[in-house]
Amino acid sequence: MNPEFWSLIGEKAALAGIMIGFALVVAMYSTWAERKVAAYIQDRRGPDRAGWGGLLQPLADGGKLFFKEEITPRHAEKFLFILGPTLAMILACMTGAVIPWSTGFEWGDRIIVPQIADINVGFLYILGVLSLGVYGIMLGSWASNNKWSLMGGLRAASQIISYELPMGIALITILMISGTLKLGGIVEQQMDGYWNIILQPIGFIIFLVCAFAETNRTPFDLPEAENELIGGYHSEYSSMKLGFFLFAEYINIFISSVIIATIYFGGYDIPFVNDAKLTESIGMNWMAVLHFLSLFIKACFFIFVFMWVRWTIPRFRYDQLMDLGWKKLLPLALANMLITGLVILWFNN
Amino acid sequence: MNIILTSALSGIIFMFAGFVLKDKRHLNLLAVLLFVAMIVSAVFQLQGCEILSGKYPNMIETDPYRVSFFILLSLVGIYYTLMNRYNFSKPGSKVSDYFALIFISFTGIAVLASFNNLLLMFLGIEILSIPLYALAGAAKHKMRSTEAAVKYFLMGSFSTGIMLMGIALIYGASGSFLMANITSYAFDFQSIYYLGWVMLVLSMCFKVSVAPMHFWAPDVYDGTPTVFSSYMITIVKGAGFMTFLTLMSSFKITSEIVADNYRYLLSFIIILTLILGNFSALKQKSVKRMLAYSSVVQAGFMMFALFQISEQSKYALLFYTVSYGIASIVLFYALTQVKKDSYKGFNGLGKKSPVLAFAVTIALLSLSGIPFTSGFLAKFMILSSAMEEPSNLILVVAALVLAVLSIYYYIKVIIAMYFRKGKGKSIKLSTLSSFLLILGTILTVALGVYPDLLKMLLNCLGSI
């Protein structure tokens, strides 16, 4: 078992490294894209000095964050202060572990599936790690010993946990349809039949809204609402610690987009194409690349949606946010779940 | 299943009753009606008309004894509700919520009355106790109440942990949660099995507030608003003992040594309970606290039913619960009527309110175990059920001698009421209250003179 085991470990380590790197790059360019999209929507130019079309801007930003002075406020709880962003970043990196990026490709004599961990509770894993994300924010905000930070942290915490409920229930309907908790299984089930967006439009909407809330994006960005709370939970942060919070947010956006694409839009499925036939004609490896591109394009679209919404819809008031989560989405999700169950059972028999 | 459903529904109804019924009297009426509904459903269950029967064969069963126990607890509950009908608004204004909590804890009792599975027993106990944590802290503006809630909660969840460990160990040894299987399993992991039992017994001791796990009880019963400590001391404790008895009846006694150890354990628990409870109660200045300690003592007496679990001891426990319940409810009602909780608060009550004083006297005599009150026959039955084993004589006599101590602090109340002069105006009771007090007294005496009344009632319920 030993050599096989170690090679597997090596393979997974490589995959993990690639995924983290990829996520970082995507996150970096998301910031650029964000500014570009914003500029486009507001009829401006956006960043255009560093590199062609400002393409080097994210690198410059990153470098700036790297070399900035690090300030830890006097009254802060030092350890937790550092732990906050660290945790946020680590967890953001870890969310993607169960996502199937594409079908397997051949590497020598073995088939490598670009999915870091194909665990049978993939679903729950995502939910679990997502909800852990709130710890980073909470710890950071509390440790800062700043009133704005604390407010921001509290808001973040209650917002994230509030929206987790409808999200969880919305996901249950997917489970009912697919009957498995493995993300790979869900994708495969969609490849054969309809995408879940067709079966679950309401569930999709709920999930989308919740994803916005979970990533603290506008219109739900109350935890860092700069005109109310300065910077919210990261008011006191500087240097790379601040960078981690920002990066974590963008990584989360990316991963959320991937998850939305995976769950509701067929994952790496290429629409209107018979995958099996295509695989025969162009070979496994090319197919994997196509699949990956398919997923990536879908994800990019959703990243765009995230930005689009940010610059279109104004920020909610906090009570409106809570009302939406608890009073609208939660019953809606429950009803959706019941109806889905009824319909499926009805057609099954 | 009937009783579980009706009690749960009652709880739900009360959750929403507060939005509809604003008048507290209506809430009381509703509570009584729901109790009646619970009793009716229980009677149907006894008759075999059970909703969803057989759907959950590994979880619940209809045990006539426990269903009857449930009926009696509901009857005591009716008495309790009517007696305290003006007291529910004393801790706070959310009367309907209090009732909801009470009825939800009754759901726990219903589960306990029908489990045949440790899993469900655990659930029942939790459903029973979690609302009580909230009830203990119901008087939000009073620090004492909050403190009681904190203590009760911490210690209660602690004992839950112990109980779960016991259940897990028993499960590990026997491979099942079913009571029947636990009694008749292949004897592989003896040490784990008995360790589990000891833990289970300890945690049950906790739930019924028996030494060495009784330390929380006085503080909690003292701090909790009087209305609710009355509930906790009577009905909840009765349900706890019902569970304890059912649980211990599936304890497997494989050898003489095990039997001996079991007896030593029980004797130790009982003697410790009686000594600690009595001597602590002696030096209390507050009657409420004294009653709290005395409830520990009474629990010690109730433990006698576990020595030899038979028809007789089961009936004795039932009888004890009822008689103790009625007496305690009357006493706690009196506590809410006097100004102070201390003995001085009772001074001259015989003049101030003869009916109340008379009822309290009879209740105290019943608790002391004086003949012509049901308390005597309760003690008599429960002690006699333990007497199958000759070596228990010393234990019984010791318990009785310690009971003399308990009489000492009971009669201190009588002395205050009748032999001392009190200040203040006379206490006016409404007609219904007086009637209920008299009813309680009559019940106490009637059961004390003719104990078969209870048996007749049970027979009636079983054969309508």
Partner: protein, 108 residues
């Protein structure tokens, strides 16, 4: 296959840590967490036992109920935490601390 005794000792150790914590610690929150530790050690043990019994009787339902209890314990623990935290907030808002030493109004 890890022997059952390992699980047993591990969970008993965790359980004891929790128990000792409840008895010795003075901070109510920490006591609550110790209680949770106790419950979770039981969960661990139950799952282990459940697996063991299942392995002994393959192809049957034996051992399923152990895991069922774990789910129930989780629910109950959540309910307890909910009520416990509420009580603690009530307490904290009066005393501005969560120390059991402040629980002294009912001593005589």
């Amino acid at each position: 296959m890890i022997p059952i005794s390992y699980y047993l000792f591990l969970s008993l150790a965790l359980f004891s840590i929790g128990m000792i914590g409840v008895m010795t610690r003075r901070n109510i929150i920490i006591m609550l967490m110790c209680v949770e530790l106790m419950l979770n050690s039981v969960n661990l043990l139950l799952v282990a036992f459940s697996k063991m019994h299942h392995a002994q009787n393959l192809g049957t339902d034996v051992g399923i109920d152990g895991q069922m209890l774990v789910l129930f314990i989780m629910v109950v623990a959540a309910a307890e935490v909910a009520i416990g935290l509420s009580i603690m907030i009530l307490f904290y808002r009066k005393m501005y601390n969560v120390d059991v030493k402040s629980l002294n109004r009912l001593k005589h």
